[in-house]
């Protein structure tokens, strides 16, 4: 590793996003194995996203050509569009819940952009990676990279500001009934919008940022009402931390493409 070249930084960022991706995929596995609520779709897509980002940063890691990543995240973007439409269509959801999937959609779009917009010589044997971080790669439409990077940065700042207010696992464990009630209100699905838990605005807000988990918690509560401890979600704070890391890394990659 030549520390005089920015490639070392690309390698470092690739390691960071791979660790983050591993954690996200681990959340999916734990959630499925132990029925701990989490945003399954978001975690899964972020796991794949981390692998894709690492592959773009370090071409030798790329198992598939860039265009394949574009297709993968095209599907992810379509999925998030569907989730956004579904949330907007349901009654009783808060404004926070309505925008929950929007940044993930933008991140998927950024992955599509990075997959298709970059030109430049791929290194031999790279499997089609685009060799960011020192290859001199440039985007066909740099303004798009700037706009997406700014959106990523705005998301990072917004989420970081929100971070201390996101429910900790300890808080969920301390007040499982409150949490479950809040989850029911926020999910806005089975329980409907008016379950009386509007009197618990704090919890309501806490789960608002994670409506997927709220829906799962409501479901778990209905299935096993006496076993509420098992419905404690995987750490929403760590999930938000993962999103922050991924968004910063993505903004970095987009800026490299300017």
């Amino acid at each position: 590793m030549n520390m005089g070249e920015p490639a070392w930084l690309a390698d470092l960022v690739a390691v960071v996003v791979l660790i983050t991706a591993a954690y996200c995929l681990g959340r999916v596995a734990v959630s499925l194995a132990w029925r701990r609520p989490t945003d399954l779709d978001v975690d899964l897509i972020h796991g794949v996203m981390g692998i894709g980002m690492a592959a773009m940063l370090v071409p030798s890691l790329s198992p598939v050509p860039n265009v394949t990543w574009a297709w993968v995240f095209g599907v992810a973007a379509a999925w998030f569009v569907w989730r956004i439409v579904a949330v907007f269509g349901s009654a009783g959801t808060s404004r926070i819940a309505e925008v929950h999937y929007l940044p993930h959609f933008v991140m998927a779009v950024a992955m599509i952009y990075m997959g298709v917009a970059v030109s430049g010589p791929a290194k031999a044997g790279s499997g089609g990676g685009m060799a960011m971080g020192g290859s001199g790669s440039t985007a066909h439409f740099p303004t798009g990279a700037l706009v997406l990077a700014l959106l990523m940065l705005a998301y990072v700042v917004w989420l970081t500001d929100q971070l201390p207010g996101i429910a900790s696992v300890r808080a969920w464990r301390a007040t499982p009934h409150l949490a479950l009630a809040g989850a029911g209100a926020l999910a806005g699905s089975a329980a409907g919008p008016d379950t009386g838990v509007r009197a618990v605005p704090v919890v309501r807000a806490a789960v608002a940022a994670h409506p997927g988990e709220a829906a799962q918690m409501e479901s778990a509560a209905q299935e096993k009402p006496d076993d509420s401890q098992r419905a404690v979600p995987l750490s929403p704070r760590l999930e938000a931390g993962c999103h922050i890391v991924m968004a910063v890394a993505m903004a970095y990659m987009l800026v490299l493409m300017l």
Binding site: S94, G133, G134, V157, P164, H177, V200, R204, A206, A251
Partner: protein, 344 residues
């Protein structure tokens, strides 16, 4: 939203009914940003953009140190010698030093965005900004007759420091201030800082180096290269507009800047006009004179002064009289006044 908009004061009681008496649910409240916090978050976002730009390839080369050394030219010896000295060190160790620079800026951004650390981060950002203003920007060229409001005078980074001071978390006792920037330092001081900044820009625009017939044209047209077609077209069109019109353009610019400077002392309606003119002018300068801070060049270390001037102007937006008097910390459906961190 409306059903819970004012639940803050009853929050504890309700928790006592449904949950455990006195349950704190620490860490589960979330506060929507009020005006001041929103401005702080904008500042954090700009710091974050700064950090990401600082991680670009160019900054890890010797050319970065050479670029910093060039800012020493024209400054008095007492100012220029430390610049040359520090630039030399950076030139010889660009990788570790730039890594540290970028990481510091990243931490400042995250620190401002994170509510518990906002004061520490704002304070540190003032120190960092002052150091960079001297050692990285040569005091914004204000001492070497090359400063122009169009090319970023008085130095973008000093505006970071100014914003950190003006957006410092203030007690609720000053919620009745006529604009957000006055809450931390008081109305008179805030007005004074505004007048000094914009009046100095008006002065810079009238300096001999900026009045020359082709001065503004050359300054603007020099920014076009390396940018996307749409941006280069705008820049070139603006350059043609002021070609051989250096004196007239400088006078117009100075008049606008002078109006902005004094508008803060005028009644609210005129003050709002001044803020709007300031934002429009900052946007024009950012696009035409600064080419979005040279972000597309690969060697832009920050977005330059345009966004910061606009953010500063927003901090001076006059509140409506009734609102200013009755102002209380903004809370949302989910957070009550008792839970609002003091003065964020």
């Amino acid at each position: 939203m409306s059903d819970t908009a004012a639940t803050g004061s009853t929050l504890t009681g309700r928790l006592g009914v449904h949950g455990r008496p006195g349950a704190t649910l620490s860490g589960v409240t979330w506060h929507a940003p009020d005006t001041r916090r929103a401005l702080q978050l904008c500042l954090a976002a700009i710091w974050l953009l700064d950090a990401v730009l600082q991680y670009q390839t160019f900054m890890f080369t010797k050319a970065f140190g050479q670029m910093l050394a060039a800012t020493a030219a024209g400054n008095p010896g007492v100012i220029s010698r430390p610049i040359t000295w520090s630039a030399g060190i950076i030139e010889h160790h660009p990788v570790p030093i730039n890594t540290a620079f970028a990481t510091i800026q990243l931490l400042l951004a995250i620190g401002i965005a994170l509510r518990p650390t906002v004061k520490v981060a704002l304070g540190a950002s003032v120190v960092w900004a002052l150091a960079v203003w001297w050692l990285g920007e040569g005091l914004g060229e204000v001492l070497n007759s090359a400063a122009s409001p169009v090319n970023g005078a008085p130095g973008a980074v000093i505006i970071y420091a100014l914003l950190a001071v003006l957006l410092w978390p203030a007690g609720r006792g000053r919620a009745a201030a006529p604009f957000e920037a006055a809450r931390a330092v008081g109305t008179r001081v805030a007005q004074g800082l505004w007048v000094v900044l914009w009046a100095s820009l008006a002065y810079f625009s009238l300096m001999a180096s900026n009045r020359a017939p082709q001065a503004l044209h050359d300054m603007i047209s020099g920014m076009a290269s390396g940018n996307p077609g749409w941006l280069a077209s705008i820049i070139n069109a603006a350059a043609r507009l002021v070609s051989h019109q250096g004196l007239a353009a400088s006078i117009v610019l100075a008049v606008l800047l002078a109006f902005i400077a004094v508008s803060v002392l005028m009644p609210a309606r005129l003050a709002r006009s001044g803020v709007i003119v300031a934002i429009v002018l900052a946007a024009a300068i950012w696009v035409v004179g600064e080419a979005l801070g040279g972000i597309f060049s690969g060697s832009g270390t920050d977005p330059n002064s345009g966004p910061l001037l606009a953010l500063l102007a927003l901090a001076y937006w006059p509140k409506r009289a009734a609102r200013a008097v009755a102002a209380t910390p903004t809370t949302t459906e989910i957070a009550g006044p008792q839970a609002q961190p003091e003065g964020l």
